[in-house]
């Protein structure tokens, strides 16, 4: 760092920190396309796009929480629970819109519950959300006794199965929330405070930031997004299913971290997370297109996660 006197006021040039992984995503896509050109057929891109939406929605919530220094293990189970609930409500004659709103309220309340434990009772987020991971899945089973709730109204299926201008509807929902989250993190006071909370919570508190509010917000937002995802999946499956969502939390966290979010808090971008979720989905898709034996998929996924993060860290250190 050089110190020059009287240097003009200039806001730093835009540093595109997601470049590494964006390149990775592009290289990956090109590679798969070369190996199997079907990758870039519209139908396949729709498949990938829908998959990105599912991972991505959860990963956005996770990103905000992790930036604020927390973690949310509950999202996978919440997907199951909210999917079951929305189906249950509609099955019991509640109108679709109201059922959806109800479910989103419930999932937000669960987020509030997490936020309450984390901020007011000082329970580590890992634990309170681990509790929900276990309990929410349990509740979903209690409600359904394991059986899917089927016979939902036709119009409900559009959410998960429909298209607008050829783009899967879930992808549009995802884009909307990604933009919202991008906006929040980048341009609002809340967003700035979130980074401060994750960077040094004590400093943020002593500076007068309403630390609890900021953190509670992230938990509510994450659970809310899990609710959205649960509804999308229920619609996509045309049913409420207690068995879905297992391990989604880890995929969501992995997507966020691949996208450059630091698990120690204070660092991460929505753009990175979107790219991270895209990488995960492209790989899942590519493994099949490249006809790799399904037994190897997990091995490849595991190695990809490690490699992506290691390279990212290594390159960041170098600069």
């Amino acid at each position: 760092m050089k110190i020059k006197s009287n240097k003009p006021i200039k806001i730093r040039k835009f540093y595109f920190r997601e470049l590494n992984i964006l390149i990775a995503l592009i290289v990956l896509s090109v590679f798969i396309t070369v190996m199997n050109p079907k990758f870039i057929t519209p139908f396949n891109l729709q498949v990938v796009a829908r998959q990105i939406a599912i991972y991505g929605l959860l990963a956005i919530g996770e990103t905000l929480i992790i930036i604020g220094g927390g973690i949310d293990l509950s999202v996978g189970s919440l997907v199951a629970l909210t999917g079951v609930l929305v189906a249950l409500f509609m099955k019991n004659g509640i109108d679709m819109i109201i059922a959806i709103i109800l479910v989103l309220i419930i999932s937000s309340l669960i987020g509030l519950w997490h936020g309450f434990f984390v901020t007011k009772l000082n329970v580590p987020p890992f634990i309170i959300t681990l509790g929900t991971l276990t309990a929410a899945r349990g509740f979903a089973s209690v409600i359904t006794k394991g059986w899917p709730i089927i016979g939902l109204p036709e119009k409900f299926f559009f959410i998960g199965q429909g298209y607008i201008w050829g783009i899967p509807f879930p992808t549009l929902i995802f884009i909307a929330f990604a933009l919202l989250a991008f906006f929040i993190t980048k341009y609002t006071v809340l967003g700035r405070n979130l980074y401060a909370v994750g960077g040094n919570i004590e400093a943020a508190r002593l500076s007068g930031v309403d630390v609890d509010k900021v953190r509670i917000f992230t938990y509510v937002f994450s659970s809310f997004l899990a609710g959205i995802t649960g509804i999308i999946i229920a619609s996509r499956l045309s049913q409420g299913q207690a068995g879905v969502g297992g391990g989604y939390e880890l995929s969501a966290i992995a997507a966020a971290v691949i996208g450059g979010t630091s698990l120690s808090g204070g660092e991460g971008t929505i753009l990175g997370t979107v790219i991270g979720a895209s990488i995960m989905s492209v790989i899942h898709n590519g493994l099949i297109l490249l006809e790799i034996s399904s037994y190897w998929h997990d091995v490849v996924m595991g190695l990809v996660i490690v490699t992506a993060v290691t390279i990212d860290i290594w390159r960041k250190k170098k600069r």
Binding site: N36, K38, K145, Q241, G247, H284, S294
Partner: protein
């Protein structure tokens, strides 16, 4: 152009490994390319996404064992719309546009297991525990439902677990749960194992509690381990669904559809669009006479039968 068909199973599991053997053999026999695919664990959205990827790939036919029959329907429709014939195996999706179903449905198989249990427990009935790997997966639910219907005729058979001890497909936990069931219900007379590992797990618990013969184990699948335990008389009877056949037949049918066309193929197949691959009930020698409601085989008879059907006998 080489014919390429895909067979999609439910999870990494010996049952599906056996299906895979059938798939591989058929592909070899027929000179086609067959991709066998299973998700790591049962996961409905993942399975659907994977099937979509196969559709995108443009294979000549897909056989799928839907983790959930309702959920898969739109995707099957999508494939059919793209001119890819889709059939189901192991689990049917009757509401969908699938062309044909190959297998014995889990409900029927479960019901047979129930009837076997009923025979073995006799009039005096008794307490029965159920162990399963999932409380949400369709195959588990259907097998249990079938089982309950199978024992329904004898009111003195009481299922004490509510509804079943679930180990989340963890074999280690399955053993512990079985042990605890024996302890909690000292007068337990029967144990129904839903997933492949549940029977051997119960057998292990029964052995260590020294209750062999006292607790009747009826379970699913015919892995070498099952056969060994039946020979020992620890497992009373097991229901085999012939996964090998399902795999083999699926490839066979899909290949025929690709070669001769869908309509022509369907004409040769049963009108109800179901190819029942049948079940085998294999029982320990000392119980074989007691089983009346179905035709039970001894281990040796079963071996012979498999050889007749051309199914390789592996490991036992």
């Amino acid at each position: 152009k080489e014919i390429h068909v895909a067979v999609i199973g439910k999870s990494v599991h010996p049952y599906w490994a056996e299906v895979e053997l059938g798939v591989k053999k058929a592909a070899q026999d027929l000179g086609v390319k067959a991709t066998f695919f299973v998700p790591q664990k049962e996961d409905i959205p993942a399975q659907i996404a994977q099937m979509e990827s196969f559709i995108a790939m443009g294979v000549d036919g897909i056989a799928i064992a839907p983790s959930d029959p309702t959920a898969i329907a739109p995707t099957i429709e999508k494939a059919m719309a793209k001119g890819i014939p889709v059939i189901t195996l192991d689990t049917d999706a009757p509401q969908s546009k699938r062309l044909i179903y190959i297998g014995t449905d889990n409900y029927s198989a479960g019901k047979i297991a129930g009837m076997v249990m009923n025979d073995l427990l006799g009039i005096k009935g008794g307490k029965v525990a159920i162990g399963t790997g999932s409380l949400t997966a369709m195959n588990s639910l259907e097998r249990m439902r079938g089982f309950m219907d199978g024992i329904a005729s004898n009111k003195r058979i009481v299922v004490v677990t509510k509804p079943a001890l679930c180990d989340f497909e963890d074999t280690g936990r399955a053993v512990t749960l079985a042990e605890q069931a024996l302890l909690t219900y000292p007068d337990l007379r029967g144990f129904f194992g839903v997933y492949a590992f549940n029977g051997p797990a119960a057998a292990k618990a029964v052995k260590s509690a020294k209750k062999v013969g006292q607790v009747i184990i009826v379970c699913f699948d015919t892995t070498p381990e099952h056969m060994q335990l039946i020979k020992e008389g620890v497992i009373a009877a097991t229901v085999g669904q012939r996964p090998y056949m399902m795999g083999y037949k699926s490839v066979e049918v899909l290949t025929k559809m690709a070669q001769k066309g869908v309509a022509a193929t369907l004409k040769e197949l049963p009108a109800n669009r179901i190819i029942d691959t049948g079940v085998d009930v294999v029982a320990a020698d000392k119980y074989i006479k007691t089983i009346k409601s179905v035709q039970a085989l001894t281990v040796e008879q079963y071996r012979k039968k498999l050889q007749e059907l051309g199914i390789p006998v592996q490991g036992w």
